[in-house]
């Protein structure tokens, strides 16, 4: 096999990326869980772990550039490396969303939650599931799966709209709720954005396999009259 060294390195980089993906997935799930349980210790841990996520992203980026410079990959190999570069940065940003949610937990502080969290954990669950399968689609080069996942973003958007409307009623009922409602809305917004980024990942999976670059599920992002 004339490209053994390259194939081995590409596989290693892909494994590193999947590891980064699982770290981000866990960070998102745990950040919401910590918010729900008001576990400040867990939130602080998530914030600290974000540094590892960032460091891994930079390591993947560096290794991918070295591989491009030293092995001159072409065609599907080049596309895979371009996708790895892109995915690493998508994942890192998703890690930032988890860190943001962890911070929100700390910012809300000792106040009791104005409402039990139901839809926000659902959003996190959906986003994590989408992310998990999108990375699986990348590992297996599964175009059909990559095409199917983005439509699930509509469910996340619907949940976000629901959270928004509900929080507005809490604000209207008692203006003292404004600060916390804002924080919770921001947490929901982070999850909505995380799910959007899964769509980007799916687009890159399709690009890796077919060479086609295009947007998936972007006709109207399903969010009602909200910025972002």
């Amino acid at each position: 096999m004339p490209r053994e060294t390259f194939d081995r390195e590409l596989q290693r980089l892909q494994d590193e990326l999947l590891l980064l993906g699982s770290m981000v997935e866990r960070a998102i799930a745990e950040s919401v869980d910590a918010l729900k349980r008001r576990d400040f210790e867990a939130s602080r841990r998530i914030i600290a772990q974000d540094r590892d996520i960032n460091a891994r992203r930079f390591a993947i980026e560096t290794d991918a550039l070295v591989l491009i410079a030293t092995q001159q990959p072409m065609a599907s190999d080049l596309r895979a490396l371009a996708a790895i570069l892109d995915l690493a940065s998508e994942l890192e940003r998703m890690g930032d969303y988890a860190k943001g949610i962890a911070r929100i937990n700390l910012m809300i502080g000792d106040q009791p939650l104005i409402k039990p969290l139901i839809d926000i954990p659902r959003m996190a669950e959906r986003a994590c599931s989408m992310l998990h399968r999108a990375l699986d689609a990348f590992a297996r080069r599964d175009v059909a799966l990559a095409r199917a996942i983005p439509s699930e973003d509509d469910e996340v958007d619907a949940l976000y709209n629901q959270v928004y409307r509900e929080l507005v009623t809490y604000i209207l009922a008692d203006p003292k709720n404004i600060d916390q409602a804002n924080y919770l809305l921001w947490a929901a917004h982070n999850l909505e954005r995380a799910a959007d980024r899964v769509t980007n990942i799916c687009e890159r999976v399709i690009f890796t396999v077919t060479g086609e670059l295009g947007e998936l599920n972007r006709e109207g992002n399903g969010i009602e009259d909200l910025p972002g």
Partner: protein, 252 residues
């Protein structure tokens, strides 16, 4: 795509009974660079040499099909092969300047074509050397022996020798394989400049070179043209599995 310069139609080429090129059809555009890639023995150099009938000199060879240069078949009876090779010049793997001065190398072609006035010859020599970026390096000593130049300079001199007879097409058979990386990049830059005025066809083993320099790429395999298309497509998303395997280093 710009205007067609060469149109190859169902070209077969035989060495004795052995078929070396099989049913090749290709449109080579003017004022663009077309790269031919493929493993050793795939027929790409044989194909290149069909474009100015250089293979005529090899005994027991036979050509079928047509090679149209500006719409006229160069294999038609009565073709003036000397004139054809003026119009379709060639640069080879190793620089092959004549063992003469720099000036005489470049003036060789125009002299054969009947030009003898020193003033006219000087003008052509200067223009040709300027075109290949060699003028400033040799202008102070045009009488120096060509073999005193570096290999990179010699290869540019050979290009100047081709250009001096005002060709329309320049064929290059691995023009950089004997050159160091800097001289290689100089030739590549030169090709990009010459592309403004000439149709260039290059055979190269160096895929990165094909990717860097050409507008169109043809991939040959076992005497067949597997795929031909815009270079950016061939090197990022080729249509054929065999092309993909070759350019990613998994076949050949």
């Amino acid at each position: 795509m710009s205007e067609t310069k060469i149109q190859v139609e169902h070209l077969n080429f035989y060495y004795g009974d052995k078929i070396a090129l099989s049913d090749i059809s290709m449109v080579i555009p003017d004022r663009q660079i077309t790269a031919l890639i493929g493993p050793s023995g795939c027929g790409k150099s044989t194909f290149l040499r069909c474009l100015n009938r250089m293979n005529d000199t090899i005994p027991h060879t036979r050509v079928e099909g047509r090679v149209m240069l500006d719409g006229v078949d160069i294999y038609a009876p009565g073709t003036d092969v000397v004139e054809l090779r003026r119009r379709v010049g060639m640069v080879f793997q190793r620089p092959n300047p004549f063992p003469q001065s720099v000036f005489d190398n470049v003036a060789f072609g125009p002299r054969v074509l009947g030009l003898h006035r020193h003033h006219d010859l000087h003008e052509i020599v200067e223009r040709s050397l300027r075109d290949v970026g060699l003028w400033d390096e040799v202008k102070d000593n045009l009488r120096q022996h060509a073999l005193n130049l570096s290999l990179g300079q010699q290869q540019r001199l050979c290009l100047a020798r081709v250009i001096a007879v005002q060709p329309e097409v320049i064929l290059m058979d691995e023009p950089c394989s004997a050159l160091d990386p800097i001289a290689t990049l100089e030739i590549e830059e030169l090709m990009r400049r010459l592309r403004e005025n000439y149709c260039i066809v290059i055979v190269t083993h160096n895929m990165q070179q094909a990717a860097r320099v050409s507008d169109w790429t043809g991939f040959f395999w076992l005497g067949e043209l597997v795929e031909f298309g815009p270079t950016e497509v061939i090197f990022t998303r080729p249509a054929r599995k065999l092309t993909e395997d070759y350019i990613t280093g998994r076949a050949g």
